[in-house]
């Protein structure tokens, strides 16, 4: 029996590299970010009361909901975990390659590691696809029409602002440069199934993506990214995000960085798990909102 969503929430770190990186990025986003790791606090925040009996009831209901397989709360978490694991694996390989590039005997290892920009673009679009799949797992298809569904998505991305800012900065602006969003579609156009299979996250997610075969998955990812780009462009413009600002924000919490932006992105990929950290928090909030309404 694996852990329920609220248990996962309580196991999140309170202070480590991930939290510091998120805190740094959150200085760019109005409203800020609070590292919510206590289930009781989250419940009383949603419920507007800290009556221990009510909190206990909500918690019991939330655990019951997250144990039901068809409800999809835990499936969303496993999606985030799959993406996170492969991001760490790929990041770790690139860190190794960076180190190995300096050693004469193992220099050739650096040539083998996938670090090209197309792969980075595929990685980003996989994350966006995972985000959309997880959204439908957690929330269903809310509303009576497509417009209502769109509203719901916008509402979600507003709520998960720091999460989206981290995604845009760490996976688009830092590794691909400031015009990453404009180039993304071109880059994805160059992707074939060979590049797709070089990514470990694809193997983990292929069965969860709709459609059969690499071509169908690629077109799903491109369509998902198209939708997301429309929103992300506005988001970047509103907040004035750029690679330079992201580096400066990160330096405020992580300390000075003397490398390039790409290396910073590699470092963050390998040593932080911002994606699943904020993912657990977002899913836990939606779950508690439902449990509070059902008790």
């Amino acid at each position: 029996m694996s852990a329920t969503v609220l248990e996962r929430l309580e196991r999140l770190p309170r202070r480590n590299l991930t939290v510091l990186a998120l805190r740094g990025i959150s200085s760019l986003v109005p409203g800020g970010w609070q590292n919510q790791t206590s289930a009781e606090e989250l419940i009383s925040d949603v419920l507007g009361s800290d009556d221990p009996e009510l909190v206990q009831q909500v918690r019991a209901r939330a655990d019951q909901l997250s144990r039901a397989r068809h409800e999809g709360y835990r499936r969303a978490l496993s999606l985030y975990d799959a993406v996170n694991r492969s991001q760490k694996a790929a990041g770790g390989l690139r860190v190794l390659a960076n180190v190995a590039g300096a050693l004469p005997l193992v220099k050739r290892l650096a040539v083998l590691t996938p670090a090209s920009q197309t792969l980075q673009a595929v990685d980003l679009s996989l994350k966006v696809a995972a985000e959309m799949l997880a959204f439908t797992q957690v929330n269903g298809l809310p509303g009576d029409s497509f417009a209502a569904f769109g509203d719901s998505l916008r509402e979600y991305s507003g709520e998960a602002r720091v999460r989206m800012a981290a995604l845009v900065c760490f996976d688009a602006l830092l590794p691909l440069g400031d015009n990453a969003l404009q180039r993304l579609d071109d880059l994805l156009g160059q992707v074939g199934s060979r590049e797709l299979h070089q990514l470990p996250s694809y193997a983990g997610m292929a069965s969860l993506l709709p459609g059969r075969g690499d071509a169908a998955h690629l077109s799903f990812m491109r369509r998902g990214v198209d939708q997301w780009l429309g929103w992300a462009d506005g988001f970047v413009g509103d907040l004035g995000l750029s690679g330079q600002r992201a580096v400066r924000a990160l330096e405020s919490t992580l300390g000075p960085w003397h490398g390039g932006m790409e290396q910073l992105a590699t470092f963050l990929d390998a040593f932080t798990d911002t994606y699943s950290h904020t993912g657990v928090q977002a899913v836990a909030r939606r779950l508690v909102e439902r449990a509070a309404a059902e008790i």
Partner: protein
């Protein structure tokens, strides 16, 4: 008997002939066994057969998508078809006033939730849920005296108000941000389309649509048709119809504390 002697047969051939035991010529197989000194004993044959069957069953169980049939897939193990789909709840939410916006956030089987926003600020979480999958949530309504449009009303904590409609649907308003007072929450609860919501419940007290006549049973169990005997007085038709209006417990619901408490929870209309 044709074919090579069993001693120079390969093991595959022996197994093959064993598998054809029932299909083609059982006698030849037995002859093969009886002519040599028993290449495969009867118990071994049975053992292999049982192993094959067990392997197939286990394989089917783990490889085919039977997992969805296992318990634990749905909330409280209640079948999805017994829970009203959340899609039906969406149109019953209150219409937003000027300057407000209603954003649907979750829609699952038996549950639908929306946020009432004013500008960028979330004022309240509005939701409708089917209590079939959360029977314990009905308990809080049993002892309440408060009524809203004749449905029982309960305040939970300082920010939540809940209404139980038709003994089945829980409508709840939870104040967010700066919060709402009880009066504002009750106004919001009244703005839901409560009568349409009550109509979603297949009422347990409804008279059967088909007049209760002779029950159709499987052949053999059918009671004999009672022809009125010439000497006997016929029953009054009024009595017959009055009897059919006696409330019957809903067939799909287990008798529970709540069915017994129905009389208390029904609206006083």
């Amino acid at each position: 008997m044709v074919g090579p002697s069993p001693s120079d047969q390969e093991p595959e051939r022996v197994l093959f002939s064993l598998l054809r035991l029932n299909a083609t010529s059982p006698s030849s197989c037995y002859q093969v066994g009886s002519r040599s000194n028993e290449p495969m004993s009867r118990s071994l044959r049975w053992g292999i057969g049982l192993l094959l069957i067990a392997g197939l069953l286990l394989g089917a169980f783990f490889l085919l998508p039977f997992r969805s049939w296992l318990p634990g897939g749905t909330v409280a193990n209640i079948a999805n078809r017994e829970v009203v789909n959340g899609t039906l709840f969406n149109r019953l939410f209150p219409k937003p006033q000027a300057g407000e916006q209603l954003v649907f956030t979750q829609e699952k089987r038996g549950f639908s939730q929306a946020r009432l926003k004013q500008g960028a600020e979330v004022r309240a979480l509005l939701s409708i849920s089917d209590v079939t999958s959360a029977p314990a949530s009905r308990n809080k309504f049993i002892h309440t005296e408060e009524r809203l449009q004749s449905w029982p009303l309960v305040d939970q904590g300082s920010q939540a108000s809940a209404l139980l409609v038709a003994d089945r649907f829980q409508v709840k308003v939870i104040g967010q941000g700066n919060g709402l007072d009880a009066e504002q929450r009750h106004v919001l609860l009244e703005a839901f389309d409560l009568s349409a919501l009550a109509a979603l419940n297949p009422s347990p007290l409804q008279a059967p649509a088909i007049p209760a006549g002779r029950e159709v049973l499987p052949p053999g169990k059918q009671a004999p048709l009672r022809q009125p005997l010439p000497g006997r007085q016929r029953q009054a038709p009024q009595a017959q119809s009055a009897q059919s209006l006696v409330p019957r417990p809903a067939a799909n619901r287990k008798p529970s504390l709540f069915n017994r408490a129905t009389a208390v929870l029904e609206p006083a209309a």
